[in-house]
Every structure is written in structure tokens, then in C-alpha cells.
């Protein structure tokens, strides 16, 4: 598995699930929070990735 995008999504999923379960008490709230966090992480990484595109290291 060498897709940077899917590895990032997998990482974001793990982190989202753990944080959501830590922060919320009911399963419904946990699922909602995890989904929102995952979406936020992936969207932010995608946007930042494109913003960094013109600036090679």
C-alpha cells in the first residue's frame, strides 16, 4: 500500500475514532464527531496539499 492519500485517510480515521470516543459519551455522538473530524482532517490535508504544490522543497 503506497498511496499517500489512502494512508493519510487511514491515519485520519484512526485518530478521529479515538478522539471521538474520548470526547463523547454516546455512540451516536461518537459516530457524528468521528465523521466530522475525519472529513475535516481529509479536507484540510487535501487543501493544504494543493496550496503547497507550487512550493517544492
Amino acid at each position: 500500500m503506497t498511496s499517500h492519500f489512502w494512508l493519510m485517510v487511514l491515519f485520519a480515521a484512526f485518530v478521529s475514532v479515538v478522539f471521538a470516543v474520548l470526547l463523547r459519551d454516546t455512540p451516536r455522538e461518537q459516530v457524528q464527531t468521528a465523521g466530522m473530524m475525519l472529513g475535516g482532517f481529509v479536507a484540510a490535508a487535501y487543501v493544504l496539499g494543493w496550496l503547497m504544490f507550487p512550493f517544492p522543497l
Partner: protein, 136 residues
């Protein structure tokens, strides 16, 4: 009117220092076990699955388990983060896993998964501590 209970009203599950230390030690050793002990079984179940799975993914991605080298502060901090996962780390060391393949494309991802799994488990231990004290 708020229905949330105050910290004073919540039961202190492990108020004695010895029992509190035991809860934290077990929570570190087996991710999620602390939550099982303090009665948060649903949370414990998620942690006991998610955190070792994240650690295993890091090993599968050919990440490295860092040695405790004080001469290199970043490696030392990485080593502390690696050890945060508890028993899965000890098992991996016994099996000689986690040597790391620097040339692998997924090496840095593997390191990130391994260290983050340990750091998240530190947060889980702190959460179990709070629940045991009746703060949550």
C-alpha cells in the same frame, strides 16, 4: 436547567492511590483495559481494537521502533512515544519486529502510525485516570 452531574456527584471508582496507579498501569499495558476496569466498556472496546490495530499498521508499513538514545533527542522522544502503546510494543520487541526499512516508501508513515498509537494511548490512560477520580 442542566442535567449534567457535577464532579462531586459522580462516583469515585478508584479513589485509593494504589488502585488508581493499578488502573493507570493496566490502561497503559493493554490499551482500553483501564476503561473496562472503571466501567466504560464501550469506550474500552473501541480502544482495545483501534490502538493495537494502528500500531500493527505501523509495523506493516515498515516503520521503526526507536531505541532510547539520549544522545539524539528526537529519537529519544520517538522512543517514548513508541513505548506508550504498552504490551503490543513489548510483543513486537520480543518478535524482533519494528526494525524499520528506511528505503521503503511507507517508512515515514509507519513511524507516524507507531508513534501516534503510543501517544493516543497516553491520552487514553489520562482519560481512564479522570474517570477513576470521578472527574468525567
Amino acid at each position: 436547567m442542566s442535567t449534567k452531574s457535577t464532579a462531586a456527584e459522580r462516583p469515585r471508582i478508584a479513589a485509593e492511590p494504589g488502585r488508581l496507579a493499578l488502573v493507570c498501569a493496566l490502561a497503559w499495558l493493554v490499551p482500553g483495559l483501564g476503561h473496562f476496569i472503571v466501567g466504560r466498556r464501550q469506550k474500552g472496546l473501541v480502544f482495545v481494537v483501534a490502538l493495537p490495530l494502528m500500531f500493527l499498521t505501523g509495523l506493516w508499513l515498515q516503520g521503526r521502533l526507536f531505541p532510547l538514545e539520549l544522545s539524539d533527542p528526537l529519537v529519544f522522544l520517538g522512543a517514548i512515544a513508541n513505548r506508550g502503546i504498552g504490551l503490543p510494543y513489548l510483543i513486537a520487541r520480543l518478535m524482533d519486529a519494528g526494525a524499520g526499512t528506511v528505503t521503503a516508501v511507507s517508512y515515514e508513515y509507519g513511524n507516524t502510525f507507531l508513534m501516534t498509537a503510543g501517544l493516543l494511548n497516553f491520552l487514553v490512560v489520562l482519560d481512564a485516570w479522570d474517570v477513576a477520580l470521578g472527574r468525567k
